[in-house]
Amino acid sequence: MTRAVRFPGFNVRSQSDHWDDATRAVIVGRVNALPAVRFFTPAEEAAAKCLLDQLVDQRTEPGSPRVDLVRMVDARLAEKQTDGWRYDTMPPDGAAWQQTLAALDEDSQRDHGVGFARCTWEEQHAMLEAFRDADDPNWHGLPRSQVWNLWTRYAATAFYSHPELWNEIGFSGPAYPRGYKNLGIDRLESYEVHDAEPGDDPMAGGTE
């Protein structure tokens, strides 16, 4: 399934000359200078990559954006850059990731005879669907909803910090020092692009 381009020709990074230095450095670093994986073991890295890609529907198709989610999450865990809290029913974030990735592999071995990363896209998807639909509030001794919260929180934060995704959703990115001149409904800056598929309401689209 290829996703329709809703903002044709819109490219946030074409405006980077208008960003301030500190912001440009952070975003360029995020796109071009991610450190190598150092927190996850290779087995954890493999499972984490597939899990994160599944959560945001990132497939390896020519021409579609590739965000290196596993390195972004690995960097946060290596640097202990947490959200500033954890549930008292969960281990600290780093240990929680390691424990849940191992558990995911365990489920995969049980159901498919191979680790999560060796499963097909469809099998991985079905496993996560089953994880979501299960009635048991516990999963491998951890609260299921809090495991899901951990995974999705890290995935969403990494994915939508990437300018390729800002292009996909029509977000104009950094806006300092220039700011915005045209506030209000249906009003655009000169470099912004209207949605080419405004009727593409996901709720009306029958994806339920």
Binding site: R3, D20, A22, T23, V26, I27, R30, Q54, L55, V56, D57, Q81, T82, D83, G84, W85, R86, Y87, D88, T89, P92, H125, L128, R132, T152, R153, A156, T157, F159, Y160, S161, L165, W166, E168, I169, G170, F171, S172, P174, A175, Y176, P177, G179, Y180, N182, L183, G184, I185, D186, R187, L188, D195, P198, G199, D200, D201, P202, M203, A204, G205
Partner: protein, 543 residues
């Protein structure tokens, strides 16, 4: 405006372009030695501590104000980027639990000079007169040992110093703001349109962004990154509204210094100063007065960790009041989908609010109420909103691609103070060996009813504005309480002037002293309470 400059020159102490403090103000800041007995140490340079620092420096006190985080230089340290702003939050380890655990960090906890006001939206409503007497009026919550008229003059002063812009405010004690309302973006426009169609009153403001230049602070550029720290210096935080004036009056700001314990003289029972860690070394700063302003999690944590023979259960905790009655506001967010492009990321998130449902409605089964405001989440926060709906994978990504079509409102519901919603010390230790805070929270029935009622009103507004679909997630906002003021030591930690009952030279001047929270964002009230506490030191000195 000149009267503001006479009592607080901060906005005129920035360079002409408003980008930074004037040369020398920071570099040549007065510095005290640990062995100097200063008049006061203040722990935390946020809303309460920043205000206190400026007020006491103006009184001629020798002040050292500690902050665990950096002394920010907005142009160099802050970015116009969501994920890159993570360092603005308190991200040291903390545990959450209870029936309805409350996430901390970006949601409500700052770190560094300016405190949480560096990343608050900028809404600065006053509390209503009823907020100070909820037990008498409604049989819930608590009565404060002060009343609205005690704070009113300080609300007026602080509104001038931030300064605040907005329309005439008809709710609570009706009042005007020093600056005219800001223009609104797509989200504010839809809120105003929907409210009008639904017969609900809404107004632009009150927001601590001046409409026009203020001193040397520039005009807002409407870039929408208020929650990531205002690089423009248009949005108020103590870093630019109170710290510059404090420095000009001889205060020292000591950043990157974590206070771990308050010292006590076992013979006299008086505070002697603070133990703190800087550059890996433990140190002790002597002081005649200790003023705690670490906010609702760190203030109780510090008191509980400050044990001694006189206070074996924590400082000023003889009656097991420290850490209790901590409150958050229920903050459901309802988004509406429009065929048109709203682009809510353009313009500041704080635009329009309604306090029509703030007070107890005798026709409803619940007590107290809620307010409604524009919130305008940026993509990462919006993604969390969509994922909290249970969406993931392709469906989630499709929703996200629809971002420009959504408007988003948030409610602030007055959750009630309860003794078991509290901070305690966990077994886990931080890297300094100090026990981390555990925050337990469970909602009561009244809390849940308010959230449903607020959600219903927000859906009504968005549908009246023309939304074809709406979706709501439940979340929380703000923190207050945890070391509340009360009439006596069996019901609180400090008195009406923010002095602790147990230790004569120990004060608390932050959000943790608030006994109730109303449906108002707390920053303005925290500053007003601190400004009043400073004034009270003139009339009623510490012996």
């Amino acid at each position: 405006m000149s009267d503001v400059r006479d009592r607080n020159e901060s906005a005129w102490l920035l360079t002409k372009d408003g980008s930074r403090m004037q040369h020398g103000l920071r570099e040549d800041m007065r510095r005290f030695d640990d062995t100097d007995e200063v008049d006061a140490v203040i722990i935390g340079a946020g809303a309460g501590g920043g205000t206190m620092t400026q007020r006491l420096a103006r009184l001629g006190w020798k002040i050292v104000t500690f902050d665990a985080g950096p002394f920010w230089v907005p142009e160099a340290d802050w970015v116009s980027d969501e994920a890159g702003s993570h360092n603005l939050y308190w991200t040291e380890p903390r545990q959450i639990g209870g029936g309805d655990p409350v996430p901390l960090g970006s949601n409500n906890s700052g770190r560094g000079v300016g405190g949480s006001m560096v990343h608050y939206a900028g809404y600065t409503p006053r509390f209503h007169p009823s907020d100070f007497r909820t037990m008498t009026l409604d049989g819930v919550g608590a009565d404060w040992p002060i009343a609205y008229p005690d704070l009113k003059p300080y609300y007026e002063l602080i509104e001038g110093e931030l300064p605040v812009s907005g329309e005439h405010w008809p709710w609570g004690d009706p009042h005007d703001y020093p600056y005219r309302p800001q223009p609104v973006g797509g989200n504010g426009e839809l809120f105003l349109r929907g409210a009008l169609a639904a017969g609900i009153e809404a107004h632009v403001g009150p927001v601590a962004i001046s409409n026009g230049r203020f001193g040397n602070r520039p005009h807002c550029i409407y870039r929408g990154f208020c929650l990531q720290g205002c690089k423009v210096n248009a949005k108020a935080s103590p870093l630019i509204t109170h710290i510059p004036d404090a420095l000009a009056h001889g205060a020292e700001i000591r950043p990157d210094s974590m206070v771990t314990r308050i010292g006590i003289d076992e013979l006299t029972g008086r505070a002697t100063g603070v133990h703190y860690i800087r550059d890996g070394l433990e140190r002790f700063q002597r002081a005649r007065t200790v003023i705690v302003a670490g906010y609702s999690i760190e203030t109780p944590r510090l008191l509980l960790n400050s044990t001694s023979a006189r206070f074996p259960n924590g400082l000023a905790n003889d009656f097991d009041q420290v850490g209790r009655y901590l409150m958050v506001q229920g903050a459901p967010q309802t988004a509406g989908r429009f065929e048109a492009e709203v682009r809510m990321f353009k313009a500041p998130p704080p635009e329009v609010s309604s306090e029509q449902f703030y007070e107890t409605d005798p026709h409803k089964p619940y007590k107290r109420g809620f307010s409604i405001q524009t919130v305008s989440p940026l993509p990462i926060t919006w993604a969390e909103h969509v994922m909290a709906q249970g969406r993931w994978g392709g469906e989630f990504r499709d929703y996200m691609s629809d971002y420009v079509h959504w408007a988003c409102l948030g409610a602030l519901c007055e959750f009630l103070p309860q003794p078991d919603n509290r901070v305690t010390l966990a077994d886990e230790k931080d890297r300094h060996g100090m026990p981390v805070a555990h925050f337990s929270y469970t909602r009561c029935d009244n809390d849940r009813q308010l959230m449903s009622a607020a959600t219903e009103v927000m859906e009504r507004i968005l549908k009246a504005a023309g939304a074809d679909e709406v979706m709501t997630i439940n979340r929380n906002a703000h923190l207050v309480g945890g070391a509340r003021m009360a009439a006596d030591e069996q019901h609180g930690v400090v008195d009406r002037d923010c002095r602790s009952f147990a230790v004569p030279n120990l004060m608390i001047t932050d959000g943790s002293v608030l006994p109730t929270q109303g449906s108002a964002n707390p920053a303005l009230t925290i500053m007003a309470v601190a400004a009043r506490a400073a004034d009270r030191l003139i009339d009623r000195p510490i012996d």
